[in-house]
Symmetry: C2
Subunit: 472 residues, 2 copies
């Protein structure tokens, strides 16, 4: 069977560009660069990721809202750092029909400046807190760098949670909950990740601090999938989000946000895929099990019936399956569903029927075996679980092998992946290392931080580590 034209192992970036179209995830031929069409298979995959996020949000008492896309320039300009960070990246609506607008509106790049004027109306008293909201919407950023499907686009499918709290400590608890959510979510996606506290010069515009969620792609570059921000009262002051405390005084809220985007798909495609195409983690695979009838002319009916019966049983156990009855060879079907990354393939032919068996083939490692029809649902559940764990294990191994804690820039220069070097805490030294390694700072680790060493640039005492990597 043919594989993708470009091998993942030969040229990851080109393989990626090819596979997103071959597997029917998106169409890049839309006439605006960086705004792609979600094809049905890609959109289904995204919807399953959204579902997992929604489940986590509901479990943690966040409420889904939907704010307008357009933001008046005057609302946008209330927080100074925020404008500086986003001002050059936004799209402006200036006309309605034939009329010029009195005030320009921008397309949200993120929704702080849409939400916070309204939050200031919603929050009156400590009894209104915490306010925990989220939305899943389209956002827009004017990207000038080279665009790449799901990874760097100009219309972004975006998740954003926004919370308001009585004080800094309660907002810190939210950050803790956000980290737990990441833990559960990315485990389900079989994606190992690292959390880093971004250096001050690279935090979110307006934030007190930013924790980024990064994964390591097979190219050796990291991809930021999301971030958790502690805003303190940096936004609540200019946007006047205050409340009456229990003792009758007034105080500003402390706020957090949590953002993730369609980049999660970029990670799923890039990290789990192989030379045959996508490999989807079972939790989000639009089709978890594809059933291929192995038929001989005139003997379709009993095989089709057995395939349909299996699908029905799988559906009753909430397993998403599909019988491929197209009039093409089984080989072509294998190729097609392997390309799309369906975790399990079942083959059923007349001989299997005689033996009351089915054949199960795993997408992740090509393992093939026969099992009894009777045990099929349980075995399938079990195999899906094993695939999920195996994908995680492989990705974790790659991440571990490519994370290096060293104290010598020379050594660091020869290493691929994520590099941790002792850091004295000054901007200059980190920026110099960025230059030398031709990479970017990711930030400090948030666990296992302790360092007793010297800064490899200035030689002064270093009490923490700084991470560097080439990034997308």
């Amino acid at each position: 069977m043919p594989e993708t034209k470009i091998k993942k192992t030969d040229d990851f970036n080109e393989w990626y560009n090819e596979i997103v179209e071959l597997a029917d995830l998106c169409d890049k031929r839309y006439p605006i660069k960086g705004m792609n069409v979600w094809r049905p298979y890609g959109w289904k995959l995204m919807s399953h990721v959204d579902r997992l996020i929604r489940e986590e949000m509901i479990k943690t008492n966040h409420h889904e809202v939907c704010f307008p896309l357009l933001i008046p320039e005057s609302s946008f300009k209330k927080e100074e750092e925020h404008i500086e960070g986003f001002g050059s990246e936004v799209y402006w609506v200036t006309h309605a029909g034939l009329n010029e607008l009195e005030e320009r509106w921008l397309l949200r790049p993120t929704s702080e400046t849409a939400m916070y004027p309204v939050f200031s109306l919603w929050i009156r008293s400590h009894a209104d807190l915490p306010l925990k909201t989220f939305q899943i919407v389209n956002t827009f950023r004017y990207e000038t760098k080279q665009t790449r499907a799901f990874i760097r686009v100009r219309e972004i499918h975006f998740f954003e949670a926004h919370t308001c709290h009585v004080d800094f400590e309660d907002a810190e608890n939210q950050v803790k909950e956000d980290k737990e959510i990441a833990d559960r979510l990315f485990k389900k996606l079989s994606l190992p990740y690292i959390l880093s506290k971004r250096p001050d010069w690279d935090k979110f515009a307006g934030a007190f601090y930013t924790i980024s969620i990064d994964v390591l792609m097979p190219s050796g570059r990291t991809l930021q999938l999301g971030s958790i921000h502690q805003y303190k009262d940096n936004f609540s002051k200019p946007y006047e989000i205050s409340y009456e405390t229990e003792d009758g005084t007034h105080a500003n809220c402390h706020q957090t946000t949590y953002g993730m985007s369609e980049r999660i798909l970029g990670a799923l495609i890039g990290i789990h895929g192989d030379n045959k195409g996508l490999v989807m983690p079972p939790e989000v695979a639009p089709v978890q099990v594809v059933v291929i009838p192995i038929i001989f002319k005139g003997k379709e009916k009993p095989v089709f019936n057995a395939c349909d019966a299996l699908c029905k049983k799988l559906g009753e156990s909430s397993i998403r399956s599909h019988v491929d009855k197209r009039d093409i060879t089984p080989g072509n079907k294998y190729y097609n569903w392997e390309l799309k990354g369906v975790p399990l393939r079942i083959e059923i032919g007349p001989k299997d029927l005689e033996k009351k068996e089915i054949v199960i083939v795993r997408r992740d490692n090509s393992d093939k075996r026969s099992v009894s029809q009777e045990s099929s649902v349980n075995v399938i559940k079990d195999e899906l679980d094993k695939i999920s764990k195996n994908l995680y294990g492989n990705a974790k191994k790659y991440l571990d092998e490519n994370m290096h804690r060293v104290n010598d820039i020379k050594k660091a220069k020869n290493l691929k992946g994520i590099i941790e070097l002792p850091w004295c805490g000054t901007d200059d030294c980190a920026l110099k290392i960025e230059d030398i390694l031709d990479g970017n700072t990711l930030g400090e680790p948030i666990e296992d931080v302790k360092c007793i060493d010297t800064c490899p640039v200035c030689g002064k005492s270093a009490t923490t580590w700084m991470r560097y990597a080439k990034t997308y």
Copy 2:
């Protein structure tokens, strides 16, 4: 208990404006007029309507896609009538950051001109047809008339299905399927509606014909909830959507679309609500059953336990329920959940526990009765079904009482609601009647069309009916 300040029966439009905010559906204080904030309760309600639409789409083999929001001016300008219809209603993006765009982009008012250039790439052969797609997205129209929550807004939550077919006949079959979808969908929403074939001067810009789906609101005005369009090859020609036929020649596709919007919420609110607030049809009620513990200090625990146990049982039967344990009076809770239109209220107190009973109160007709705990889930299912039917019955009665088929303009002038008059088929006569009745043409009935009468304006023979109504 207080009711809404304004009675629905006194001033429907003001009652409507008040209830959408009182019931926490939306917040109209966003700084751009006609762009409202979806609050959690409103968004949940909308999501349940979206779910019903998605279920219908999946059942009929439509595939969900998501096209970019922004459309280049050059793509937009390919179909002449379409530009004429929408040109004055669109918002224009002219700048990205500090740069002026080379070509202006518009925010989709609907997605024909975003999709069709891509459809022309997707469709090559008759084997690619029919192509049946849909998306649920935000669309934008520059409304100059007075805005009204869910009914006339500038950012519109919108469903649009787009299909391509080998010929006119196959597209006609799609229109038939669309009508069946409307039938199932609006039955679940307890909304009786009428289908009318819009007159030529009022059809969708670029369509061959348009069928509108209208409901009658309590104000006596009709509200258009959606429309089904037969495009013939009007778009496929300028957008070059063609395919190779079985015999090797080339032909243009015939296309249809199906659009519905958040106006469905407007209809649910307006048609089913009463002086106490919303009344939600069970199918889409975010909370179908609210359980109120009737508690005495120190005796909370057994009552809370019984409430929780009931909710758990209801959840197992896929019934959405909530126990209201807030520390406020039961009366305040009743008021609150009545306002939000929860179909069934359950009361459980110590006396009910002793008798192994629960009290059930219906939102639609205030009927109250005790039933045994044992039978509770079955009774609740049954009552939800009865509410759904009762809401439909009431709305149907109102519609039937306010649809008038007459042949005399004088009579028509004294009637409220939807009026059918004989029509000779000329624009002038229908437009004159619009003037006299101070209403709009809705279109011809698509069933029970036959008319043997004379046009009340020109006196010529009339072989069909034209519907008129005041509209939103």
